[in-house]
Symmetry: C2
Subunit: 157 residues, 2 copies
Amino acid sequence: MRWQDIDQQPCSLARTLAIIGDNWTLLVLRDCFMGVRRFDDFQQRLGVTRHVLSDRLRKLTEGGVLDKVAYQERPLRHEYRLTAMGKELYPVIVHLAQWGDKHLAGEHGAPLTRYHRQCGEPLEAQLQCSHCGDTVKPTDIRVEENPYWAGQILVNS
Amino acid sequence: MRWQDIDQQPCSLARTLAIIGDNWTLLVLRDCFMGVRRFDDFQQRLGVTRHVLSDRLRKLTEGGVLDKVAYQERPLRHEYRLTAMGKELYPVIVHLAQWGDKHLAGEHGAPLTRYHRQCGEPLEAQLQCSHCGDTVKPTDIRVEENPYWAGQILVNS
DNA sequence: GACTATAAGTTCCAAATAGGAACCAACTGT
DNA sequence: ACAGTTGGTTCCTATTTGGAACTTATAGTC
């Protein structure tokens, strides 16, 4: 199986990673959430080569995560903005960065600290059930297979 | 900048992705959370080539996400288990899969559904501040730069 | 004793992708 | 006329991936 074919799998994680799972792509999104919008700004901040950046921005745009909009005519110039769908990836970024803060910070501490505006404390995000509002721990989650793919996804052990 | 050097950046997300951001790695972790532990099981479920799998498992082990433990001697056989640090990545997997469920499900619906055991409803996870217990929206987060890297990370606009 | 199977890889080669640098198009400003 | 800006594309080389075969150590079967 080639990496470029993983979007064919009956797995939401695989399909998501087909759009945002390539090397560099999540760093592009990090910068999107910081307000970066232009090709050259991404390129300078990331240090990625221009044609890799071009490819990643194209995949993100085709995947509906970014929107390529003209910000001027003559000469025509475009910038990339997060769509509503793209903004919903923020929790992923937060949890990834938080994991890095906790486990990979060097001697100078975490490069960035996120604060919860309402209570003013450094944010330690966790999962919450939007239905009942309770905190959700991994063991509180029960996974059920769609009958259409019965036996193909879950490990039977 | 080469992808393999991104762990040098003053960014927790970049450092995290240096361990788990390669192609295939998050799918390996998905299977870990489903209880897969053995090389050949990962290989068959993922369809990834053996030497890429070997490389990813080594990086995850060196990064402290997985633990390689012998489950028998003669012949010596190892399996891979999530460490406590690795288990803390579960929220990342949940949010990624949830995003795929919502935006990329095909005609047969989401392959897996996660339920919140306590309330019995399909889980729609969101961020919660572990300090005050409130729901956290993206706009509720204020980011502050560590003075050591002042001006190097945030976009000034 | 010879053969087959199992598990966890390693090795080999061709094909695809990434890194680095230069180039291009369509303007604007000096 | 010439340099600068923006958003790429093109070229070449180096690294990584995909696919398949091979290896090692042992257990079980004929």
